[in-house]
Symmetry: C2
Subunit: 353 residues, 2 copies
Amino acid sequence: MSAARYGVGVSTFNSVPPGAGISDVARLAGVSQGTVSNVLNHPERVATATRDRVRQAISALAYVPNGAARSLAAGGSRSIGLILSDLENSLFVDIARGAERAAAEAGMSLLLANSDGRLESEDRYLDLFAESRVLSTLLTLNDDQHFRQIVGRVADSRSLVLLNFQVDPAEYCSVDGHNERGGYLATRHLIDIGRRRLVFVGGPDSLRPVSERHRGFSAALAESGLTAAADVTPDWINRSDGWRVGTGLVEAIAAGRIDGIVAASDLLAAGMLQAFATLGRVRVPHDVAIVGYDNNQAAWDSPVPISTIGQPGEEMGYRGARLAMEELVEGDAHQHRAVVLEPTLIVRESTVS
Amino acid sequence: MSAARYGVGVSTFNSVPPGAGISDVARLAGVSQGTVSNVLNHPERVATATRDRVRQAISALAYVPNGAARSLAAGGSRSIGLILSDLENSLFVDIARGAERAAAEAGMSLLLANSDGRLESEDRYLDLFAESRVLSTLLTLNDDQHFRQIVGRVADSRSLVLLNFQVDPAEYCSVDGHNERGGYLATRHLIDIGRRRLVFVGGPDSLRPVSERHRGFSAALAESGLTAAADVTPDWINRSDGWRVGTGLVEAIAAGRIDGIVAASDLLAAGMLQAFATLGRVRVPHDVAIVGYDNNQAAWDSPVPISTIGQPGEEMGYRGARLAMEELVEGDAHQHRAVVLEPTLIVRESTVS
DNA sequence: TTGTAGGCGTTATCAA
DNA sequence: TTGATAACGCCTACAA
């Protein structure tokens, strides 16, 4: 996949002026390059006096090590990469924070990139990280097709951990929320508060988390001997989709054919709520109770705060980074693992008043 | 600043297995290394047949160029770095998106890092990017002190562009929103709708954007011969601060001593709104009109959608990245510039019903 | 159009 | 504890 991106021609940019190198430092401090390198990487091997002298030279020259040369000589960097699919969704921000914590604890750095869920960007940054020789890259994903496309192209030798997406441990390590359980929890909650005419709103089915949540919904219904009042599959799971869907549901709700909704995302739920509020014929939770998913800002910021399923985003990022590191330490002996994290029901006013 | 971070000792991680190198590709394709390099970087110099043969060898071996070696030999990377101070704030996400667009247009990549507004992280990532030899780094800032600390340490030779923070063009390029004008617009709007007992809520003053917005507030008042009904300086500008401040203001509003509020951020405004709604003695906008700042999700998601001052975040990022590239192209001839972007008033229900 | 060879700035090995 | 010196993988003149 790499080759396609080359041939972009010569850069028109002036490159960064050289600045002082390790040899300049060595000369000024009156030592050899090797010694300078040692005070940088193995200070304990250098006599205190020498070390101080070198450090002085370093700051005198404002010397900045060249990471490229360093990675080249050392055979690798000390960074891991994380490609996020949606910076607007606070879940991913949490993931980044968790991954960063894990990296920091291990003395490594975290490089971020935003793919905006576009396969093309996922690809590009996967390449970039591969070329940067990051120790490992973490990739958040939510689309089965993307996964298939990507897997085929990523070199086996590179460490890759999938986040927010569960895969067969035969292929990769992954950390995911238990979406089916989340869908179940949301539905169970609605049933527990007495709702019986339930709808799942979410789609398309190619979004893996969505279809899994749907499955949980169905399971909870079956368990109680209920059947879905309807199935609604919007084009996507954003606020505007919720608005559209909400508008279409008002009639059925007002007529009493629907009294509970499980939405595949908080944005979807928030959009529906807005539609209901605007059209004015449906009250939440009186006429219809709604549960969202992800515990985004949209959920607690909504006019009627939305009950939702919380995902442990920070933990997802943390565990993901840890898995990556284990993989690095264990080497060939490594067995991929699929970690599945438990979601939590968070009850707010959209289901109980 | 760099030196302090070294001496972390030897890595315990296995580095990535070597994989195929350019020489392997050359051998398989039956050409020289130079030719392989050319098909990668200057395909037009290579005969079609040769090129195809090389490309086949590349994919056969799953060859991934080593970015470190590449940057080293080429004397620089093709990435720019962006350090964000707050991923929770959608303004910064917009900035990232704009910068990414500019980078993509120029065939470059954008590396992200999240400093969470911590000086220490800003420092760390500045170092990391410097070592990575990114062509330029963009840094969002909002604190004067941080700026001073950082400037002293960053090597002059490196290109640095400040975002969301205006600095003397003698020092760096910067792109900022016109905060004083924004504060003015917000205040003017309140005056225009007949409010006269106005308060500015925001702090601390060390946050540069806040103090500038405050100045705009004062200017608008002075222009109309008014004086501030009060000045409120919360500890910070988050939702919880808004809640606290809001609670403290209820009395004065109910008594008619305050009828308009300019908040330094949407979160602050949203927090106050929540406090008012909970305590129940004050109606918005009837008893008090509120304007926020930034046009965050929090503003339009609020129970009463909040009027606000919109910042052109995407443009900020885009222009910042462009400035960085100009600086690179112009080299020594470059004159730093301070770009100031116009804010926009967005009217919602918190000021007019 | 292709091959040759020197060098990019570090790290690591081995001797001193 | 320190100093030489050989990689590291690739790019780019320059020569053929």
